[in-house]
């Protein structure tokens, strides 16, 4: 995906791209994956296998298989979703905004922009590759709780963070 071509029509007249990059592609599930993985595997083992053993044969076998697939899907989603999203993501920083683009193979390109200004709550973690967070957005299926938005698992994160601080302080 050509970032400059994708962003060209969206940029303001005096807006310039200061940095663009992509997250690493490693398998690196976060701490948040722990509970869904335990729940999903436990669910598949107890509900699915329980139904399978309790109802040897007959239509309930289908129910057992359905429950096992459901439990394994929950665990797989928690383990691999973050890595897949990172593999499809492209990031860009301009002198006004941060762009997060997800080039989804089935749903197409989804571009969101997040303002960087003096009110922006900029944070980074101490890991390498680094994650820089700068915004919050509502969770899609969980009502009023918010999730953190940022540039995840990027190389050279400290330099990007410095540029973002300059943008926040109006130095660009």
């Amino acid at each position: 995906m050509n970032i400059a071509r994708e962003l060209g029509p969206l940029l303001k007249q005096d807006e310039v791209i200061l940095w663009q990059g992509r997250p690493t592609r490693y398998f690196a599930p976060g701490v948040g994956a722990f509970f869904p993985v335990v729940f999903g595997l436990g669910y598949a083992a107890i509900a699915g296998y329980g139904a399978y053993v309790a109802f040897q044969g007959g239509v309930f076998i289908m129910l057992a298989i359905f429950l096992m697939i459901l439990g394994l899907s929950i665990a797989s989603y928690a383990l691999f979703n973050g890595m897949l999203i990172r593999r499809w993501s492209h990031y860009a920083l301009t002198n006004y905004r941060a762009f997060v683009m997800i080039d989804h193979p089935l749903l197409g390109v989804d571009t969101t922009d997040w303002p960087i200004n003096k009110h922006t709550d900029l944070r980074h973690n101490a890991h390498d590759p680094m994650t820089i967070t700068f915004a919050y957005a509502p969770r899609r299926f969980f009502g009023r709780s918010m999730r953190v938005i940022g540039f995840e698992h990027i190389d050279d994160g400290l330099n990007v963070f410095r540029v973002m601080m300059d943008v926040r302080d109006g130095l660009h």
Partner: protein
Amino acid sequence: MNAQEQSARKAPVALGPGEHVLWQGFPAAPPRIPARPAYSVVTLSSAFGFWAYWMMVPELPFLRVALLVPILGFLAMAAYPPLTARRRATVFFNSARYTLTNQRAVSAHAEKTIEVPLSACSKIHLGKGERQNLILWNVNGGTPSQPVYFHQLENGEEPYKIAQSLLDTLT
């Protein structure tokens, strides 16, 4: 909703100095709740699966007691839409009022009022579909950090355009 009810609901919100109303509206239908067949199938069959395992382990009373948690939990999840969520959605639908001023977005109904002050850090999202949900929130996570939802709008484009042009002037 007839014209009399609409005008009664259009009672003005308490405005601050320099504040004026840009748009006011109501939901065209109750908010969507998870009452689709797939939800019931998943929750009820989950309860059934745990109950099947519960039947298999009569010699392990501790495990049987532990298994009651997911069994009752999934049954409660299956019962939630018809028993509680539907009633709450009706209360919400009958009293909800959405207001957009030049300083904030307010969603008020009989049980709760939520508002978001609009600033250079505010963001807006319009959902898809015949009746749209409009979401306004502050991306800097400041207080209050909760988003405001304008649920099930008949013509969501109108408040979206008003709010977007307002946010463009603020940035």
